[in-house]
Symmetry: C2
Subunit: 148 residues, 2 copies
DNA sequence: ATCTAATTGCGAACCATTTGCAATAAGCTG
DNA sequence: CAGCTTATTGCAAATGGTTCGCAATTAGAT
């Protein structure tokens, strides 16, 4: 049993759930990936290890992991399927390049600033911040412009 | 013809589109509402003026208006239908109260700060910023806590 | 090894959204 | 105003992501 599976088990057991094959498989995929994956992509990767795992189990595992705070769900654009990734704090937000399609994380204290501002001046207690910035990444801006 | 319809017409004509009944109806609803509406809600309101307007026409009108920059599409939570509202600048972001469900706008320069930071330090040129803060609004925090 | 409830696979259901197509209507043009 | 062309519409069916009901399976406790 890998280290990451051990972590999963303790999280599950603590919340009164069972450690099962499909859950382990889904977890390994999400935990082992740097990127944001759709349920279908996760299912595909899972099936390469165990072809019997069903798509609905993938969805169910992801929903459970989300509840437990193990993974994070995000919408990276209207009409796009939901993407999942390993849980990360709110301060880490998403930068999406509309040219190459890559989605990166960016960490800054700006999100924290927003939270304190809202709390201090407007009595709004933020529990979750979702920030998606769409635009052109440095590399794509270069290649799309005729430079000196 | 109302003032708002006139605005719509010039935007449509300028882009080579026609001013039609369904488009006017959809526009009046969106422009006349303070809140974020789903396509279904818009269709319902439209039908009270003209019951022959079809849901697909509502979708098509909204898609067109979005292209033209007249309305803004937003995801206010995973597994929720898309919501539309009159176009507004990025600096105006969304505050969603998880208790009362209300979605408000909040305007601040924080979004602009993020844009300049990304541009100056990371070469990332933002074209659109979507910021959704979920939490408890001032009123709900009060009523949910036993205060002094 | 046995037992029970949680979990799974499966297929069907669901919901928001999109699409193909024939019928309609907007806005020229004369 | 009538005629014409093409964009737009209504309809119904298709789509795609996600959820659900249920019988079969399996994790983990005894």
């Amino acid at each position: 049993m890998t280290e990451s599976t051990r972590e999963l088990r303790s999280a599950l057991v603590e919340a009164g759930h069972r450690l099962t094959g499909p859950r382990i498989a889904v977890w390994e995929v999400v935990a082992g990936s740097e990127s944001h994956l759709t349920a279908e992509e996760i299912a595909e990767a899972v099936r390469s290890a165990d072809p019997t795992v069903n798509l609905s189990s993938v969805y169910r595992s992801l929903a459970l992991f989300t509840d437990l705070g193990l993974v994070r769900e995000s919408n990276l654009g209207a009409n796009e399927a939901t993407h999942w990734e390993l849980a990360h704090p709110d301060e880490q937000f998403h930068l999406k390049c509309k040219a190459c399609g890559r989605v990166e994380h960016h960490t800054g204290d700006l999100v924290t600033q927003i939270e304190s501002h809202l709390s201090d001046h407007h009595g709004f207690k933020a529990s979750r911040v979702e920030l998606l910035v769409t635009g052109m990444c440095a590399e794509c801006s270069q290649s799309h412009s005729s430079n000196t």
